[in-house]
């Protein structure tokens, strides 16, 4: 670590290291100009151009040399960990834009700003994943959150969408305040904002109570962004109120980015004999609570978007189990978990976006009854995803949970692992209830239109991934392993 940290990149080197972010930033501005000149009828064109932009940025990320690179005086870092998660974020956002096109046209909200705001949010997420200092962390987080607030309130004519946006904004601003207060305490008590310098200091240095306060506030602020209990109150309302493609976007990419950031801050900045137990107890508590609330909260839900919100709270709890372990294996478990969660969520939302009748979208779980007879393919895909979400072998969700629980057991967190297994059994109830409704209940009126091509493609890809994960898991595990090892120099 000493050798690589010593090399300070010049300004032009820094620019080439941050090339993917620069492409996204410049691209967003070009698209904005295009949109302003051509008006809302260019929404479709700008949507496809945004996806093209993501692909170019993805190639730029792969092109970068594979060692750890530091830019802008060490505040910006690119390592295989950041690369892995950035690619994930780019894929998720492309799929979200793809799935939004038809919906936006039907609901009369096909405005050209929609894909541009997603591009800007993705820029923020990439900055979060590459952040190596508290200021860079805050900048990325705020860029991402601000875009998300606007996206949530995008459907101005819907009262619920506006409410979702406002609620998200107010609570998000509160969490930013907590995070900033924590950051200022950490800076005040250590004199640095850079994670790697913090890590070196805390490795041997004594802890002051002020620093621990700062750490607690910082963790609370970040827990808010991944909607871990007890900072989850906004999630069901925002998921339900926001337009469905926006919810699909919320559930996948920002969760991955915020989780990635959380892991990087704690592992590189606050690892040491004295300091690790300090945050470990926080993470254990919120992981436990998230798993429990995720499992029990979802049982009574009738709206499928609210159900997905509780499901995501629960899944973030399982991913946090890996962080609580604090080991390289734990981080690898989180990465695999995020990858699989991400694939399952996008598939689920492809189905939810296809739940429409002639008079509009339906969101009630009961509307799925008898789906197996009306649309057998969609029902089958949904069933695979639900089995996987419940964590039933041999589907992908089982392996995701397996790796994080194994890491927890190796770190001797037996209680956490056992309770994790118990809550996933409870959680299986509400996933399997949907399967029962689809296959054994009497059919109601069927969804009038067959699934659109892009939804079919997303559902097929996600279904194949979760169903056949066991077959091609090895290279993915290796990839996650290298990514995780770059956090542990």
């Amino acid at each position: 670590m000493e050798d690589s940290a010593q090399h300070i990149a010049t300004f032009s080197e820094s620019l080439s290291i941050a090339l993917p972010e620069i492409i996204l930033a410049v691209g967003a501005m070009v698209l904005l100009i295009l949109g302003v000149f051509r008006g809302d009828r260019s929404a479709g064109l700008i949507g496809s151009l945004s996806i093209a932009l993501f692909i170019i940025a993805g190639f730029a990320i792969i092109q970068l040399p594979s060692e750890r690179l530091m830019a802008f005086g060490g505040t910006f870092i690119v390592d295989s960990y950041a690369r892995f998660l950035k690619i994930l974020v780019l894929i998720g956002s492309s799929v979200a834009i793809l799935m939004s096109v038809a919906f936006n046209e039907r609901e009369k909200m096909n405005r050209f700003e929609f894909p541009i705001l997603i591009v800007l949010a993705v820029l923020g997420m990439c900055m979060m994943l590459s952040a190596n200092s508290l200021i860079a962390l805050y900048m990325g987080l705020e860029l991402q959150s601000l875009s998300l607030y606007v996206l949530a309130a995008m459907n101005r004519d819907s009262l619920r969408s506006t409410e979702a946006g406002l609620k998200y904004f107010v609570l998000g601003a509160l969490s930013s305040g907590l995070l900033l207060y924590g950051s200022s305490l950490i800076y005040g008590f250590t004199g640095t904002t850079q994670f790697d310098v913090l890590g070196e200091l805390l490795h041997e240095g004594d802890l002051s109570i002020g620093l621990i306060f700062g750490l607690v506030f910082l963790s609370a602020g970040l827990a808010f962004k991944i909607s871990a209990v007890p900072f989850h109150m906004w999630t069901p309302d925002v998921y339900e109120g926001a337009p469905t493609p926006v919810t699909a976007f919320f559930a996948a990419a920002p969760k991955v980015a915020a989780m990635g950031l959380f892991v990087r801050v704690l592992i590189t900045g606050f690892t040491g004999e004295d300091v690790t137990p300090q945050w470990q107890q926080i993470i254990i508590t919120i992981a436990l609570l998230s798993m429990v609330v995720g499992a029990f909260g979802a049982i009574g839900q009738t709206n499928i978007k609210r159900l997905m919100a509780y499901s995501s709270i629960g899944h973030m709890g399982y991913a946090l189990v890996g962080l609580a372990a604090g080991s390289q294996e734990g981080v690898r478990g989180i990465l695999i978990y995020l990858l699989i969660y991400f694939a399952m969520t996008l598939g689920m939302f492809a189905c939810i976006l296809s739940m429409k009748r002639r008079d509009g979208m339906v969101e009630n779980i009961d509307e799925l009854s008898g789906l197996s007879r009306n649309q057998p393919m969609m029902a089958f895909g949904l069933m695979v995803l639900l089995f996987s979400l419940a964590g039933i072998p041999p589907f992908a969700g089982f392996f995701a949970k397996f790796y994080v629980f194994m890491a927890a057991v190796k770190a001797e967190l037996y209680l956490l692992a056992v309770l994790g297994v118990v809550t996933s059994v409870i959680g299986a109830f509400y996933y399997l209830r949907i399967v029962k409704i689809m296959y054994f209940d009497d059919p109601t009126e069927s969804f009038d239109l067959p699934m659109r091509g892009e939804m079919q493609a997303v559902l097929t890809a996600s279904g194949l991934f979760t169903g056949l994960y066991a077959v091609f898991s090895l290279p993915l595990i290796q990839l996650a392993g290298t990514a995780a090892s770059s956090l542990f120099p």
Binding site: F11, S14, A18, A25, M29, L32, A71, F72, G73, T75, F76, R111, E113, I116, L117, L120, L123, G124, M127, I135, A136, M139, G140, E142, L143, L146, S147, Y149, V150, A153, M154, R156, G165, L185, F189, T190, G191, T192, T193, Q194, V197, L201, G205, D206, S208, I209, G210, F213
Partner: protein, 204 residues
């Protein structure tokens, strides 16, 4: 020294007094005016600390922009503040409990200001003494070089704020009549004038 001490206590006393009046005065316009007074005196405190840039920014940004915006909002929106305060007593016990918890926490943190010297050593960019360089210049030297990444990132955040404000509030209204000079100039006689033959005694 004595003069400085007098100035410090004067500014601090006025800040605290004005802050109290902000939340206690009945008329919201008075509240905003007291807020401006508090800002000015806080700026005075910054000058005493040798942070003249912060003092300037406080006056320019907070007094010049934020407080004036507050005034506009307070004067233009007809908010019934008496009604807003209705729930005050109801929520007060909860507020007092949370406030005192935070106060106790802060006292704990303040009690812990014995920073180990080796930990506080690597301050990233030490502030040069004012006699050598004014701190506006010192900030300028690092803002566009070492901190250029943050500077640009802040620019992107402001761009999103602007897009958001436009997306959420701009509506193209139907039936708005705008002056179109080209159409006015391009009018022909045939479109504008109609010749009607009026027979005597009939009218039109």
């Amino acid at each position: 020294m004595a003069l400085q001490a007098i100035a410090f206590y004067l500014f601090s006393a006025i800040v605290i007094g004005a802050a109290f009046l902000v939340i206690s005065s009945r008329n919201p316009v008075h509240s905003v005016l007291f807020l401006i007074l508090a800002f000015f005196n806080a700026a005075g405190l910054f000058v005493l600390l040798g942070a003249e840039f912060l003092a300037m920014i406080l006056v320019v940004v907070y007094v010049g922009a934020v407080a004036v915006l507050f005034l506009f909002v307070v004067m233009m929106l007809d908010i019934d503040f008496v009604e807003l305060r209705q729930g005050f007593l109801q929520y007060m016990p909860m507020g007092v409990v949370i406030g005192s918890i935070v106060l106790v926490e802060l006292i704990f943190v303040l009690g812990a200001v014995t920073v180990a010297p080796e930990i506080s050593a690597p301050a990233a960019f030490p502030v040069p003494p004012v006699s050598e360089q004014a701190n506006t210049a010192a900030l300028g030297q690092i803002l566009y070089t070492d901190y250029v990444y943050f500077f640009q990132a802040a620019g992107m955040i402001l761009l999103v704020a602007m897009i958001g404000a436009i997306v959420l509030t701009l509506r193209t209204r139907e039936g708005v009549r705008r002056q179109k000079i080209s159409e006015q100039v391009g009018r022909r006689r045939a479109e504008g004038v109609e010749l009607v033959k009026v027979r005597p005694g009939d009218g039109i």
